[in-house]
Symmetry: C2
Subunit: 264 residues, 2 copies
DNA sequence: CGATCTGTTGACTGTTATCAACTCCGGTGG
DNA sequence: CCACCGGAGTTGATAACAGTCAACAGATCG
């Protein structure tokens, strides 16, 4: 059991969606957590589990994967700083597996700590609520993606979203980021077959929008990718991101695209 | 401004997902609300709105509709008793339109009332949180639906879900329920074209699973429809529904299907 | 009674899944 | 060190699925 190691990334995440006072940071800094490492495709939580702690993702990617149908639809992807099973606090059984996309480092923090923190600080309570609502906003946006985009723009949109969320937590510098997940994982997230996902990625490469080699994605032409995907970062609920200049840039991009489309 | 008219359906809904004490019911009964009627495809909330009240749906159907792409993807459908914009309490701008599917009756209840109630009753506070989490569960399930089912099973699943949720609030007696929405609306929810939606419905009719005439859907063969859709009502988070016998029946059905599938 | 929205149909096109085979790479054990 | 193995990526052929366009029928509502 350690203290004061897991809190920074998560605190940054909360600060990116709501006001967090120095007192709140003190509270979070006393967070008792257990760190654990997991390898790719390992399940951190299983369907039906009723965990008594929350998983805070420190490194790598986690996803919620529904195993009922097909090859296991992925319903959401999480980046460092996220708390994927925050909603588990309410105690109902989990309805999917929380699974690692590539090797991950996770901190477990007991539900009791969050309940204590929520009682002690209205600001943190609100931040935690907003974090859950932000997740719901991602889900809605993903429904729009699955329902109304073709597979090329779907994949492009997912890559935009991951890149943008990684930037917000200070990862993904210089337009590249780690992609330890497989093309089959990407396919499961986009609701397409693995073979088709492969062809889509080749198409994105052919258009010189990105590279994907040695478990790294490099965005070659961010404006074009954003335009192709119709990516609007509004829905992420990121209020005060880590890199305001980049945020500004993407905002401007998206707006420019909007104008472009409107004028056509 | 009226009191004590809107609360019953909503209270029933809360009771179906968490414990509600007689004291809680008293609190809810003092709910000050404004009733209003709206016609089909009218927007109750618009993208970007920051409402100061919650809409409680009393009669009809509401949906969240994203208007950016295609013909307006529907991300969720709500039935009487639901509070579709409960998450608006946190104050961030809405990211889609809340739109009527057919004529609706809505009660508006100020956010202040909910904040007061949350402070006064931990039980109701938890019930409201659970209501929001149940919505998120619906979203996840809809992602699975869009991502891993073909259009026939997608439509079948949506119809199962609506029928089941209506039963839980005491509507949809005798295997039929009102369908004032258009086939285009259904298509927008399922992420398919209106023409294709029409053909899917014809296929469901041809298979004698349901009828759809004069704004009414009649389920002719519920077990077969549930089997086709792979419908498992677990994810709805309905704990203690209005009609336990029917609930039991559907549970048994779903379990039976599960066994059927497993034995094949 | 006309205007409009909704539902229906057919022909055609485009997208995506499926199947099968093959390559490439990283590990693992002999 | 090398042979082997399994997972991941790649390719081509084919079939299934769903979108688009255009036209018309039927309902509904003023």
């Amino acid at each position: 059991m350690q203290t004061g190691f897991a809190f920074t990334k998560f605190a940054d995440r909360l600060a990116s969606i709501a006001d967090v006072t120095p007192d709140d940071l003190d509270l979070l800094a006393r967070m008792p957590s257990t760190i654990s490492h997991h390898s790719s495709h390992e399940n951190i939580r299983r369907k039906g589990d009723r965990p008594s702690s929350c998983a805070l993702l420190l490194q790598g990617y986690l996803c919620w994967r529904d195993v009922e149908l097909g090859y296991g639809q992925i319903t959401s992807i999480h980046v460092p700083g996220d708390a994927p099973d925050l909603h588990g606090i309410e105690g109902s059984g989990l309805d999917a597996n929380l699974s690692a996309l590539g090797p991950v480092v996770v901190a477990f923090v007991s539900h009791d700590f969050f309940r204590h923190v929520s009682r002690a600080s209205p600001g943190l309570c609100r931040a935690l609520s907003l974090a859950m609502l932000a997740d719901a906003s991602l889900l809605r946006n993903w429904i729009v993606n699955l329902g109304s985009r073709d597979s090329l723009t779907r994949v492009a949109h997912l890559i935009c979203e991951i890149g943008y969320r990684l930037r917000a937590v200070g990862l993904a510098r210089d337009d590249w980021f780690a992609s330890p997940f497989t093309q089959s994982d990407l396919a499961a997230a986009c609701g397409i077959s693995a073979v088709h996902a492969n062809r889509i990625i080749q198409e994105l490469r052919r258009r010189r929008l990105l590279q994907w080699q040695s478990r790294t994605i490099t965005i070659l032409d961010w404006p074009a990718l954003v335009r192709l995907a119709g990516f609007r970062p509004d829905y992420l609920g990121l209020r005060d991101p880590h890199s305001p200049d980049q945020h500004q840039a993407a905002e401007t991009l998206a707006t420019a695209d909007c104008h472009l489309l409107a004028s056509q």
